[in-house]
């Protein structure tokens, strides 16, 4: 996964509730066997209509084209388990999502790839969205080590919670499989006991 330390960039507000993974990554982009071409797919049906950029869509608007963060509505990433949605957001340049709640599988997919999800109270998210909606004030710095989001030209700062293990993984870009395989003997021992107790499980 991609390590995440301190990142400064533009935040785009996208406050609709229940933005699903079909919208984030439409099915036409799911026919690959690798991760290529997903940047084009991200929000494709919102970003383009008739092959042309849709001027209303936030990521096509002046000041938000190179956004690094999205400030999002509740339950972002609901629906299909497709991790292509996360890969596509990353290929679009998105490094973190700030919202109130993220759908479960999507949230895990983000964590496994180094796309930071920050959950804050609804009023804080709404305030942040209001500030960054003014394109002259849409600079944001996320400092993971300090667990802070600075915005409004550095005038304001809010803290966020993250589980220690997840923070460590983001900071180091850890290979989770390698970390788990350190416990291979534990897995084997578990497996032997589990199969003795449940011999019908192959």
């Amino acid at each position: 996964m991609i390590p995440f330390g301190q990142v400064t960039g533009v935040a785009a507000p996208m406050m609709a509730p229940n933005v699903d993974t079909d919208v984030i990554m439409p099915k036409m982009f799911l026919k690959g066997v690798d991760r290529s071409g997903l940047g084009e797919g991200a929000f494709n049906l919102l970003r383009f209509s008739g092959g042309k950029p849709n001027a209303d869509f936030i990521l096509n608007r002046e000041g938000y084209r190179d956004a690094n963060f999205l400030v999002v509505g509740p339950n972002f990433g609901c629906g299909s388990s497709r991790e292509h949605a996360v890969w596509g957001l990353q290929q679009l340049g998105i490094r973190a999502l700030i919202g109130t709640s993220f759908a479960g599988i999507f949230n895990d997919n983000c964590a496994n790839n180094g796309l930071l999800t920050i959950s804050l109270d609804a009023d804080v998210v709404a305030e942040l969205a209001r500030v960054v909606a003014d394109s002259s004030r849409n600079d944001v710095t996320i400092d993971l080590a300090a667990q802070s989001v600075r915005f409004d030209r550095g005038r304001r700062s809010i803290g966020f919670d993250i589980e220690p293990d997840r923070k460590e993984a983001f900071l180091t870009g850890r290979d989770f499989i390698a970390s788990t395989l350190v416990f291979a003997d534990d897995i084997r021992a578990f497996e032997a006991r589990h199969r003795a107790e449940n011999p019908w499980i192959v």
């Binding site: 609709a16 699903d20 066997v33 293990d165 989770f176 897995i187």
Partner: protein, 474 residues
């Protein structure tokens, strides 16, 4: 020991070790099912790192998402992308030694239909798979949940996942469902009440007399669909019905092993005084057949109601979302949902394409014709369901009514194959997602039960199925 929920017990019996002090554990997963579109990058990752699959016998590979459903089935895939995915899938099965049901295998079908059918899903198991509808397996007293591709890769390499315990929610269902009200309607009612994020962060246990009286297939429907409220895992305590379903299935234990397994399965349940983080109760006798009007599964109304006014939504973002949904769906507030005409009727998907669903639909189609201007297709959940429906005479009722009778697959649930709606086309659908663009760019989806889809197909508009049921026709 303190009273525990069934969910806690299933997690406890699968913890390999704790990873930190805050509840992150290494969780052993008993089984997975792989499909051709969420697995390729996981196998590519294993190949790149030179890793093997920890326990190839614990996985099954089934083609279901991209395959065509044309009545004459061949191995040919219609487009290059699908062909590449299926070729790579077969190559991975071969190279990593995993059992594979290809498109012509008589056991092929949608993964969540096939795994139970084969007897691969047993009480007490933990099953995680690369599809959000893997909550299906909760119907058997297993913990079932969906994972992404990175977690598939992690599972394949280690037989475990990194897992944080969820909060627990019990959904207690009492009363008696009225005529024409199906498990689909009951779970849609729960979702519209608690919202599309109402169960986010929770593992859900369904309980109560309605669940006890429900068939295993009905339990699969509610277990699958509650993921649309954000549930990240489902459990239902196993009972004799689950045992009856499993007995004699190809992979179920036999003989003395069966007796031993059955004894251990029947004691799996939440302790009577176990506490849940959230409790929901629903009395089902007042539930009516439901239909979605918007683009989120919680935007639903009873078929007797009118399209709601977005202005009545509490939060401004919800109001904006409702307005956008109505605009996308081409509907206006105050319109009776039963006045809405349809272009297409789809019966299929892991939610509603099992034999009971097809029987419900056939009951409505019997002796009737699909309305002029409507195209209706039935895509059975598995090749085995297809064969059974033919043996029971259901297929004949479909074709005599003018319904297309197809081969099995996910088909128009997510439209990754060639079954795709055109922009603006309106579909009565037995699936569980009505997202923007889900059934094709610009396509309009109304979720409902299979019988409701059949009713819409024969009248050409969204219709209260109760007016077409034998008992209601006076």
């Amino acid at each position: 020991m303190a009273a525990r929920t069934l969910y806690d017990k299933l997690v406890d019996t699968h913890v390999v070790r704790n990873l930190d002090d805050s509840g992150l554990v290494l969780l052993y997963v008993d089984r997975t099912v792989l499909n051709e579109y969420t697995s390729p990058q996981a196998f590519a990752g294993l190949r790149a790192a030179g890793r093997k699959v920890w326990n190839p016998k614990a996985a099954l590979m089934v083609v279901d998402h991209v395959n065509p459903t044309a009545a004459q089935r061949t191995r040919a895939m219609p487009d290059r992308g699908a062909a590449r995915q299926v070729d790579y899938f077969a190559e991975n099965a071969r190279d990593f030694g995993i059992e594979y049901f290809d498109i012509l295998d008589p056991r092929q079908g949608i993964e969540h239909v096939v795994a139970p059918e084969q007897g691969l899903v047993m009480p007490g198991m933990v099953i995680a798979a690369g599809d959000s509808h893997s909550t299906a397996y909760g119907a058997f007293g297993a913990l079932g949940y969906g994972i992404g591709t990175s977690d598939i890769e992690h599972y394949l390499a280690t037989s475990t996942v990194r897992y944080r315990r969820l909060k627990t929610m019990r959904i207690h269902l009492t009363g008696e469902a009225p005529l024409g009200v199906t498990p689909k309607d009951i779970v849609m009612e729960v979702i519209r009440r608690i919202g599309a994020d109402g169960a986010t962060g929770y593992a859900v246990e369904f309980s109560g007399p309605v669940v006890s009286n429900m068939s295993v297939e009905g339990r699969i429907v509610i277990s699958i669909m509650i993921v649309e409220a954000g549930a990240r895992g489902v459990v239902i305590a196993p009972d004799q019905k689950v045992l009856d379903y499993l007995k004699g299935r190809p992979r179920a234990p036999k003989g003395e092993m069966w007796e031993q397994a059955a004894r251990s399965w029947l004691i799996l349940a939440s302790d009577p005084d176990a506490r849940f983080d959230r409790e929901i109760a629903l009395e089902v006798s007042e539930v009516a057949p439901l239909v979605t009007w918007g683009t989120s599964p919680d935007q639903a109304i009873a078929v007797t109601e009118t399209i709601p006014d977005p202005g009545q939504q509490a939060a401004p973002e919800r109001e904006a979302a409702a307005r956008r949904a109505l605009d996308y769906m081409g509907l206006t507030p105050g319109l009776p949902i039963q006045s809405v005409p349809i272009d297409f009727a789809f019966i299929g998907s892991c939610t509603n394409a099992r034999i009971e669903d097809l029987r419900d639909a056939a009951e409505i189609f019997r002796g009737r014709r699909v309305a002029d201007g409507v195209r209706a297709i039935v895509v059975p959940g598995s090749t085995q369901v297809r064969a059974q429906a033919e043996a029971e005479g259901l297929a004949k009722m479909f074709t005599e009514a003018g319904v297309e009778w197809r081969q099995s697959g996910c088909s128009m649930c997510l439209a990754m194959n060639d079954d795709v709606l055109k922009p603006g086309q309106r579909c009565a659908s037995s699936t569980n997602r009505n997202f923007e663009g889900r059934q094709g760019p610009g396509a309009r989806t109304h979720l409902m039960s299979p019988a409701m889809v059949a009713a819409a197909a024969v009248t050409g508009r969204i219709t209260d199925v109760r007016s077409l049921l034998a008992g209601a026709r006076q």
